[in-house]
């Protein structure tokens, strides 16, 4: 697919002339339609240019020194730990939820499916406010949690994880539910005829078969959690060492020290790109 553009051009200007046969397996498709190509290129530039800007404006000579600053490492560590734990929480809760939506028909299933995707369209800040109202010290559940167990969630590292999981879980649920719907259910029937209970079928047949979908969902979920800003700052605040993740550190640095913001952004970008590409090749685009 990537190579078809230059070869197509090459074909029309080829010295073999119009009589020569096109390469096997490719149909003669004529000129590329500019109505598609122009917006496609503009879109690509739009996506890539800001990233290029980061690279161009980066303070390369002082980069290593800035990276070694303890606040940077602290924010990075906090971000990675929180995003990973949030993803684990999403897997633990989201995979069963996806299974329920894909495999069990119950009244109101469509409504539940719509509710699951609400955090996708909700502004993250609003999500943070909603979390405060429920889990805050005077919130519906928060009050009870504090009175019964002495647990406070807002403005703690646990709060960061909750905010990230809230925002990122839909990515996992949608991906896994899609994989479950696409999986051939007859394998589950075959397992049942061999004496497998529904739990065994899920554990030993369904889950291994939808594993690419689970991994893809987990990667999306993790990436979303890593970049989470609005819900985190609203629900968990911005305390260095406990709730100041990379995105928050970037935002803060932008006001005082723009170059530091660029460095932090680069780190975030590098981590995301490395994780996404390494997993994408193995899992997401697997046939």
């Amino acid at each position: 697919m990537n190579s078809s553009v230059p070869e197509q051009v090459d074909l029309s200007s080829s010295p073999r002339g119009p009589g020569s046969r096109p390469a096997a397996g490719r149909e003669v498709s004529g000129r590329l339609p500019w109505m598609l190509v122009v917006p496609a290129v503009v879109g690509l530039v739009f996506l890539v240019l800001p990233l290029a800007g980061l690279l161009i404006r980066a303070p390369w000579p002082t980069l290593l020194q800035r990276l070694a600053e303890p606040q940077v490492l602290e924010a990075l560590r906090l971000s990675l730990v929180c995003a990973t734990i949030a993803t684990a929480v999403c897997l633990l809760l989201g995979v069963p939820l996806a299974w329920l939506l894909a495999r069990v028909s119950f009244p109101g299933r469509r409504l539940v499916r719509a509710l699951v995707t609400v955090p996708l369209v909700l502004p993250p800040v609003v999500g943070g406010v909603a979390l405060l109202l429920v889990l805050g010290r005077r919130g519906l559940v928060g009050q009870w949690l504090e009175a019964t167990f002495g647990i406070t969630l807002p403005f703690t590292t646990a709060g960061v994880i909750i905010a990230e999981a809230f925002v990122a879980m839909p990515f996992l649920v949608i991906s896994v539910e899609g994989a479950l719907r696409g999986a051939d259910r007859r394998f589950e029937e075959a397992a049942a005829t061999l004496g497998a209970s529904r739990w065994t079928v899920f554990r030993r047949v369904t889950l291994p078969m939808v594993m690419p979908g689970v991994v893809a969902g987990a990667v999306l979920c993790w990436a979303r959690a890593l970049g989470e800003f609005g819900a985190t700052i609203t629900f968990a605040g911005n305390f260095p060492g406990t709730t100041r993740t990379m995105p928050l550190a970037v935002y803060l640095a932008l006001e005082t020290e723009p170059e530091a913001a660029i460095v932090l952004s680069l780190v975030l970008l590098a981590v995301s790109v490395i994780i996404l590409t390494s997993l994408r090749d193995r899992w997401v685009s697997a046939p």
Binding site: D184, R186, A192, T193, L194, G195, T200, R204, M209
Partner: protein
């Protein structure tokens, strides 16, 4: 009898309703055209399709109230459905593991079964590395691993190419002979059914239309579908001694009967003539040629007239007779090969 079942599955545009009895060690083939309800019947037995009515009793135990995983039934699916993420060995060990057998013992059982189907050396292979014939044998081993009282096979040979099919068919026959439980297999291929089964049950539109030993069904078809399968011309008429009146045609038969009767004769018993033959061949009628096609080494001629019939003649005869579509000719069926039996 080990299996007594009455299977009723009602669907908006289709109802399956059949009674099935299978003895231990017996192999029964459900034979029928696509959409007849064969696979539905098998799925109902396995517990994968809910019965609308009826019951399933296996060795005196009612099964229809149990979910699929609690029925002592092994099933071989049409495209085998081997778990793609497990090796052949673990596929076969899956059933015993689900029944609480420890891992090492389940694997020993599985290895022994793979050995029995001649695949000991493929134990570590994943399903996508197996050929069609190998996958079929792994699927059989997997179903047998749970030591079922009833074995179900859904089109066990349909996914194989012609050459493999021949080999796997005779192997399957041997394994089914060794299996002492009841077996129900579904097929639309009459040859598979004849070779593998002790008894044929022919299903059309969700109901049994004929059952009996393969030889009986092959010799005395009772529906057009079965007649086509076994390659006979079949008519329903009224017998009066050695003659059966089919519509306006009077056919002389080998048997003497009275009352409603079927008449059957093979296409090879039909002779064709350009002009009315001399002498008095019996069972003579005038027909129109509707179609001519190759059929093995011979040529099959489709005839329309007082009865529709197939005639198999040699290519030389086609040339001699100079047959063309739409042509009017004379046809006769040998009375000694025309058989009548009660309808």
């Amino acid at each position: 009898m080990t299996l007594h079942a009455r299977l009723v599955v009602a669907r908006p545009a289709f109802t399956l309703d059949l009674t099935l009895e299978v003895a231990p060690g017996e192999v029964v083939a459900l034979l029928g055209p696509n959409g007849a309800g064969k696979t539905t019947a098998l799925r109902a037995l396995a517990g994968l399709t809910r019965l609308s009515d009826g019951q399933i009793v296996l060795r005196g135990r009612p099964l229809h109230t149990l979910p699929a995983e609690e029925r002592p039934i092994g099933m071989v699916f049409q495209d085998y459905l081997l778990f793609p993420h497990l090796t052949a060995l673990d596929n076969v060990a899956f059933g015993p593991r689900c029944h609480g057998v420890p891992k090492a013992e389940a694997r020993r059982t599985a290895a022994a079964l793979l050995e029995r189907v001649g695949l000991a050396d493929r134990a570590a292979a994943k399903p996508r590395q197996l050929s069609g014939g190998q996958a079929q044998r792994v699927a059989l081993a997997r179903a047998l691993a749970i030591q079922p009282d009833l074995l179900l096979l859904d089109e066990p040979l349909a996914a194989l190419d012609a050459h493999t099919r021949l080999e796997i068919r005779s192997q399957l026959r041997r394994h089914l002979a060794d299996f002492d439980g009841a077996t129900v297999l579904v097929t639309h291929d009459p040859l598979d059914a004849m070779v593998l089964a002790d008894r044929l049950v022919v299903i059309e539109n969700g109901a049994i239309v004929q059952q009996g030993s393969p030889a009986e069904v092959a010799r005395r078809p009772r529906t057009d579908y079965v007649a086509r399968l076994v390659g006979l011309n079949l008519y329903r008429g009224v017998a009066d001694g050695a003659r059966v009146k089919v519509g306006e045609l009077l056919l002389h038969t080998y048997e003497h009967l009275d009352g409603p009767a079927f008449v059957a004769f093979p296409p090879s018993a039909v002779a064709l003539y350009r002009t009315r033959p001399d002498g008095s061949p019996r069972n003579l009628w005038q027909a129109r040629i509707e179609g001519i096609e190759r059929h093995g080494d011979n040529v099959r001629v489709h005839l329309d007239g007082p009865v529709t019939a197939f005639a198999d003649i040699t290519p030389a005869a086609v040339a001699d007779l100079d047959l063309t579509l739409g042509q009017q000719i004379w046809a006769s069926a040998k009375a000694t090969e025309t058989h009548a039996y009660p309808a």
